[in-house]
């Protein structure tokens, strides 16, 4: 049994990430974002503000978009996590990723993984997404570069591509 900075014992966490089951021992106060980035090396999920505002840490937990910096790793025990790495790959982009590329919906790219994960959740919740609904839907994701206009277009385009090809989040 290992000790950690918190001075207490480790807890076993079993979590399925991008379809692959993992059993890890973590300090009880480990955040889910830390488990993903540092224990599993999935650094596509970003820590931006660390105060639940910016959404750069957004992943899917049991199919719903959540801010992984505000979830303890142990709360994800027995759950399924989908990160940006599980959504698509460079050789097989998810429609939402294609839409973000086509619409130039990123500049530095720091907000992009979280933005795309939230956009996919949004598209799964509703097929009727006008610009207002999209702007409201991405309120939990901040972008400092683009001014959001191209992001809104990308989300609309990605949502209709998803509907047209019947693509859900887990089909990369």
């Amino acid at each position: 049994m290992s000790t950690s900075d918190s001075g207490s014992q480790s807890i076993a966490v079993t979590v399925t990430v991008n379809g692959e089951a993992h059993r890890l021992h973590v300090a009880p106060n480990t955040l889910l974002v830390t488990l993903l980035r540092e224990h599993l090396g999935l650094t596509g999920t970003h820590v931006g503000c660390d105060t639940s505002q910016c959404g750069a840490c957004t992943i899917h937990l049991d199919g719903a978009a959540v801010k992984s910096c505000a979830v303890l790793a142990v709360q994800a025990d027995s759950c399924e996590v989908l990160t940006i790495e599980g959504l698509g790959s460079i050789d097989n982009l998810h429609p939402m990723q294609e839409a973000f590329r086509d619409c130039h919906a990123l500049q530095c790219g720091f907000c992009t993984p979280g933005m795309i994960m939230q956009a996919v959740d949004l598209a799964q919740q509703s097929s009727d997404l006008d610009a207002d609904a999209i702007r409201q839907g991405i309120e939990g994701n901040l972008c400092r570069c683009t001014g959001y206009q191209n992001i809104v277009e990308a989300v609309a385009k990605g949502a209709s591509m998803m509907a047209a090809t019947n693509t859900l989040a887990h089909e990369a």
């Binding site: 955040l31 937990l61 978009a65 309120e139």
Partner: protein, 244 residues
């Protein structure tokens, strides 16, 4: 300490504003789940489990049919990711002075069910982050009385999404109830506004009602005076929307 959605507790722990030695995760308790009508009679109470996520409330068919205003209140909380995790029980147990749901409980005659007792909303919210819950109490469910008409108007902080002021106006056969959040240390019923609206359910009926700002929150977002002003503005808007 219990953790439900954790949307306030985890960020508080990260900022060292809370440092519980142990956390008990309520999320796998089936007793805390579900939305049901208490009986089939017209206007019967709607029971919402304490673990219900805000987005679950917003999208629930029973709520849309019998208590749509609650869905709108839940849909106005925070942002989508927060709404996928945050829960009814956690929100009211925490009783943030700017949380939306407390105004809804007060306006809709809510009854809070713990493991061993029932607390009416009027007795639930006591002071800043202080409720009638004792240590160890769990919000198992909350019962709401469907109003004839209701509207929620919220002056939303553009960054945090919290209510600078939020007002829920609910009309019942036996009178109007006005739940206010964001203005004081906890949510409260605006009795002076209720009295005026019971005389005459019109926005103009509130013109002469004074809202004293003593004890209201004053911070970088809004002064106490402005919050008092917002209460009247939002109540009038809610009334107007119900009349149109």
């Amino acid at each position: 300490m219990y953790v439900s959605g954790g949307m306030t507790l985890i960020p508080s722990m990260k900022q060292r504003l809370a440092a519980p030695s142990d956390l008990i995760d309520l999320s796998s308790l089936p007793e805390l789940e579900g939305i049901e009508q208490l009986n089939d009679a017209q206007g019967s109470m709607l029971r919402v489990g304490g673990l219900t996520r805000h987005n679950e409330i917003a999208g629930n068919a029973l709520i849309q049919q019998h208590l749509p205003v609650l869905g709108r209140v839940a849909a106005a909380i925070g942002d989508n990711q927060v709404r996928n995790r945050g829960t009814l029980g956690g929100s009211i147990a925490n009783a943030d002075p700017a949380a939306d749901l407390p105004a809804a409980l007060l306006a809709m005659k809510a009854l809070v069910n713990t493991q061993d007792r029932q607390i009416s909303a009027d007795e639930f919210f006591l002071d800043l982050f202080e409720t009638a819950l004792d240590a160890g109490d769990i919000v198992v469910s909350v019962d709401f009385a469907p109003p004839q008409q209701a509207a929620y108007e919220k002056f939303r902080h553009p960054a945090s999404g919290y209510a600078v002021v939020g007002v829920l106006v609910a009309r019942y056969a036996d009178g109007v109830r006005v739940g206010v959040t964001g203005a004081g240390p906890c949510a409260f019923r605006a009795c002076a506004l209720e009295d005026a609206l019971n005389q005459q359910f019109l926005p103009q009926a509130l013109d002469t009602v004074a809202i004293p700002d003593a004890g209201f929150n004053s911070d970088m977002h809004a002064s106490a005076e402005y919050r008092a002003h917002l209460i009247k503005v939002l109540t009038k808007r809610a009334v107007a929307s119900l009349l149109s």
